[in-house]
């Protein structure tokens, strides 16, 4: 069947497609985090298949670091990522109300002005 136009294909011994892959044959899945420059934070950029973390990192270098500035990468097995279910995101629901935890929740200037008005003659 190999009457290909393509020299590289002509060099292969081809058969009709009949292979069936087994689950797991394409290895574990790793998440990849990329650091664009030294000092920057690592950002999640995608995933890849690899047999172990070392090859995962080696693969990540080309699949996620072959363009633009890159300083370092992290890889971590997807199965090791622990996260909330999306529907549980209401555990964060009242964050914005709890402004006593936030600089924006403190308005001391008003109080000072009021105090200064009341006491009249304090020098600046």
């Amino acid at each position: 069947m190999n009457n290909s136009y393509d020299p590289r294909v002509k060099r292969l011994t081809l058969k009709d497609a009949n292979i069936s892959l087994r689950e797991g044959e394409h290895w574990n899945i790793f998440e990849v985090f990329r650091q664009d420059k030294r000092g920057a934070r690592h950002v999640h950029v995608g995933a890849l298949h690899a047999p172990d973390p070392v090859l995962a990192l080696i693969f990540a270098k080309e699949q996620y670091g072959r363009r633009k500035d890159c300083f370092n990468l992290w890889v971590v097995c997807s199965a090791d990522i622990l996260a909330f279910n999306d529907e549980d995101s209401d555990v964060f629901a009242n964050n914005r109300e709890k402004n006593y935890r936030d600089a924006s929740g403190f308005k001391v200037r008003d109080k000072i002005e009021e105090f200064r008005k009341k006491s009249g003659n304090i020098k600046k």
Partner: protein, 254 residues
């Protein structure tokens, strides 16, 4: 005027190795054992072709040779100085990986020593490719170690390809008959014999960690001839393929 044939010979053989192996390895693009490795191997093939180009540019700019495209794609087979190792078709991945491992360690060592060359373009190139070669050897080393230590089948395959490739890889270090001592005297590079020893040291340690055995070095017959222009039957076919389109009209802009 002082002859520069010795440097030109050295650059040509280094460049031709990179050009031919870069082409061979690029044939895996789209055919690799898994997509992630396909991408990595393809990048390294690109790097090799890039190294070849950089070397042909030195020939062109410093020694008035033809421009890189012309020089790379239009010489006669006899004028190519690549070693036999790089000429063979890609075969199976065990062969291609073993060739990659043996060649890229040799390449890394060669370029490392060129950091101290008396020939400035070599020093610059050595600096420029350092990171690329580090990645290539890291990649190669990890694969060889993992496959050497994995299953009986993968171990047997790697051992068999090591035995098969080793004499061919030793052929990388074929000394340049007329030029070797001049190149060494002028401190352009340390000479093939020295490189061979450095290379053996490096690969020995990886091979051992991969639970593989180097063949008996004393008994190995290195496959020489490439540096003198004598090649395997595969080179001419590949050269025809590489230049098939370019040759239709070398004067045209492609």
């Amino acid at each position: 005027m002082k002859s520069t044939n010795h440097i030109k010979d050295l650059i040509t053989k280094m460049a031709d190795d990179e050009l031919i192996l870069g082409h061979r390895n690029s044939e895996w693009t789209g055919l690799g054992p898994i997509l992630e490795e396909d991408i990595a191997f393809s990048s390294m093939a690109q790097d090799k072709i890039g190294h070849a180009l950089a070397l042909y540019e030195i020939l062109h700019e410093q020694f008035d040779e033809k421009d890189p495209d012309h020089y790379a794609f239009l010489r006669n087979e006899k004028e190519y100085k690549c070693c036999h190792l790089v000429e063979f078709p890609i075969g199976e991945y065990d062969f291609s990986l073993m060739r990659h491992f043996l060649f890229d360690y040799a390449e890394m060592i060669r370029y490392e020593t060129l950091a101290n060359s008396s020939f400035e373009p070599f020093r610059l190139l050595s600096k420029k490719v350092k990171g690329e070669l580090k990645y290539h050897t890291l990649h190669a080393e990890e694969w060889i170690k993992q496959l050497g230590n994995a299953t009986d089948e993968s171990h047997a395959r790697m051992q068999q390809e090591l035995n098969h490739c080793f004499p061919l890889a030793a052929g990388i270090f074929e000394p340049a008959k007329e030029f070797e001592s001049q190149l060494m005297d002028e401190k352009i590079y340390p000479g093939e014999k020295k490189l061979y020893e450095l290379w053996l040291d490096k690969i020995y340690s990886v091979v051992t960690q991969a639970s593989l055995n180097l063949p008996d070095i004393g008994k190995v017959q290195p496959v020489f001839g490439g540096r003198e222009g004598y090649h395997t039957e595969y080179l001419q076919l590949l050269l025809d393929e590489m230049s098939e389109v370019y040759k239709l009209d070398p004067g045209a802009n492609w």
